[in-house]
């Protein structure tokens, strides 16, 4: 074990949903499975109701960084001295930052995000993921939203980013296609389309920008959202930095449409 290597532990659900073993195997110099008592990085399942409490505990016990996998609710507060990052299926895709840089030059009038999901997916986790994707791609958090259409198989949300731009989020539940999310930003003379496959197979996102010069595909990145999340956490830990993920998560949660 080298000095820079960080040890990782995960609860069972986080390990499964966040593919933690695969991530460790693909970052063998940076990460290693934890052997008590040395546990530096922790993965918590965000689908657990008590994950904020457990976060406080692991921080108190000396964790150097935490990944929260697919949260379904925000934390009221988080540790302020260690980085806590959120592992989203789509918003954590490594292609998102490049797409966001390109999108910032488009001046898009409308941001659309459409997801294909299987019926079993937890809706709240998916919506928080899609709102995070909207925030990261649009460079502005979602300020408000409302459900305009809803059925067992379809959900349409009309929202607005904090900078005033309109947002459209759709979720279609079908087994016809593999799960994934697509984003489109349409500007006055340019546009961006991006497809983000679910991370199970590490299929790369495809990001295409079209402007007056033609259309350009951004370089493909064959890395899962999970691995990109852990690289980010690793870098934050080594740099002594923190993250705004929990505050962003709380803001996204507050912007979700009212529900019964």
């Amino acid at each position: 074990m080298n000095a820079a290597q960080l040890t990782v532990d995960a609860d069972l659900t986080a390990a499964a949903h966040g593919a933690v073993d695969e991530v460790i195997a693909s970052l063998p110099v940076s990460l290693a499975p934890a052997r008590l008592p040395r546990v530096e990085l922790i993965a918590l399942s965000g689908s657990s109701e008590d994950w904020p409490t457990r976060l406080a505990v692991v921080a108190r016990e000396g964790a150097r960084g935490v990944t929260v996998v697919a949260p379904t609710r925000p934390a009221d507060a988080g540790p302020d001295r260690i980085p806590v990052v959120v592992d989203y299926e789509y918003a954590s895709n490594p292609a998102v930052p490049g797409a966001a840089r390109a999108a910032s030059k488009i001046g898009a009038a409308l941001l659309e995000i459409r997801a294909t999901a299987v019926r079993e997916v937890t809706e709240r986790a998916l919506l928080l993921d899609l709102f995070a994707l909207a925030r990261r791609l649009g460079g502005s958090p979602v300020a408000s939203s409302r459900v305009v259409l809803e059925s067992d198989a379809f959900l349409a949300i009309r929202g607005r980013l904090a900078d005033g731009r309109p947002l459209l989020v759709n979720v279609s539940r079908t087994s016809a296609r593999t799960p994934g999310a697509e984003a489109r930003m349409l500007g006055a003379d340019a546009g961006l389309t991006a497809s983000f496959p679910a991370p199970s197979a590490a299929r790369p996102a495809r990001v295409v920008i079209s402007d007056f010069d033609g259309a350009r595909t951004l370089p493909t990145l064959y890395e899962t959202s999970h691995r990109a999340t852990w690289r980010r956490l690793r870098d934050l830990v080594h740099a002594g930095g923190t993250a705004t993920d929990l505050a962003d998560l709380a803001a996204d949660d507050a912007a979700l449409p009212p529900h019964d």
Binding site: L110, V148, L149, S151, F154, T174, L186, A188
Partner: protein, 354 residues
């Protein structure tokens, strides 16, 4: 289609604006064995003469003169929307063999009923120029119906002149009026016009897909959201018989067109990526996602406009009208209902925000 050993069908065109110039004349030029344009009418004499001159036809500024011309077998109505119904009825009553009318072929339910009565009385077949209903991509994917759980029509286009200029050299292009997007009446007109001018390309297909799950679903339309999109477009959410539907269109200076219709079901999905209007770029490409397979249908070498004219030739020569007139009326009623509800919704939303 029927092999052509007969004389070409003689076509009279009512309204010689960009649609006739950039869509129908270039299409008919590809079907020279089947059709010959013999008369062109436009209220602008210079336009009528010039457009007629391109195809060696006679010209007039008078509708009746064209309808009474014995050298005109069939009529193509390409005039502005408000004139469609009256001209379709007049052509039927003038004893023409068939009428092709640009969509929409009426702008009210009353007009639709008058057309239905005239059609029943005269027996003259009608084809409405809803080119996507004749597009090979749609015909391929719609062969295996299933109950839809959601439907989406998304149209992203540059302004029409980009494509018109590939198809022809347009004379007398109408100017686009300036608009105040904050005026509720302007918003209402924008979404209503968007439905009748753009969404209407796909609404007959959507109505057909709805019928796969429930034949009466299209009669139970409820628009729940409608707004204009800048610089030109609309975003409309509705449901019909419990099936959510999204209609979206934007027209901007972005050159990259993206016109798709998607019908999703519990375990299958079909979609068509259509070629833009005006240009000759073949048919749309249809795809079916089902049972772990993606099936892509080879596009045809001709687009939906040519498809509708080919079908028109079949009808004139005794073939069966693929879309009966009663269905065309229902298509129109469906579109008008959505346009009206969308206008009311957009107007109310903007008035409430003011």
């Amino acid at each position: 289609m029927t092999p052509t050993t007969q004389h070409p069908i003689r076509v009279g065109i009512l309204g010689a604006g960009p649609v006739a110039q950039a869509i129908h004349l270039p299409t008919l030029s590809r079907l020279g064995e089947d059709f010959r344009v013999t008369r062109v009418m436009d209220v602008d004499a210079a336009v009528a003469e010039s457009v007629a001159g391109r195809v060696g036809a006679a010209w007039t500024t008078d509708v009746q003169e064209l309808l009474e011309d014995p050298a005109v077998d069939v009529v193509a109505v390409c005039s502005p929307h408000p004139f469609h119904a009256a001209q379709v009825i007049a052509a039927m009553r003038a004893g023409k063999r068939a009428v092709l009318c640009e969509k929409p072929f009426a702008v009210s339910g009353d007009e639709a009923r008058e057309i239905a009565e005239a059609a029943a009385e005269t027996g003259v077949p009608i084809v409405v120029g809803a080119m996507h209903a004749y597009d090979h991509g749609w015909l391929a994917v719609s062969e295996q119906p299933f109950a839809p759980t959601s439907i989406r029509s998304s149209i992203v286009l540059p302004p029409n002149p980009r494509f018109e200029d590939f198809a022809t050299e347009v004379l007398a292009r109408p100017a686009m009026p300036g608009r105040n997007p904050h005026d509720p009446e302007v918003a209402a007109a924008a979404v209503s016009g968007g439905v009748m001018g753009l969404a209407i390309h796909d609404l007959p297909l959507i109505r057909e897909a709805l019928s796969w799950g429930d034949p009466d679903a299209w009669r139970k339309v409820r628009v729940v959201g409608a707004e204009p999109l800048a610089p030109f477009g609309y975003l409309i959410h509705l449901e019909a018989g419990g099936v959510p539907i999204e209609l979206h269109a934007t027209m901007s200076e972005n050159w990259n067109p993206d016109w798709r219709l998607t019908v999703t079901g519990a375990d299958q999905e079909i979609g068509v990526e259509f070629t833009p209007s005006y240009v000759q770029a073949g048919s749309g490409t249809g795809r079916r996602f089902a049972s772990g397979r993606i099936t892509e249908f080879t596009p045809a070498d001709f687009n939906g406009y040519e498809g509708e004219w080919r079908h028109f030739a079949d009808i004139v020569r005794g073939g069966e009208q693929r879309i009966p007139t009663a269905e065309l009326i229902d298509d129109l009623v469906f579109a008008l209902e959505i346009a009206e509800q969308a206008a009311d919704t957009a107007r109310a939303a903007l008035a409430a925000a003011a």
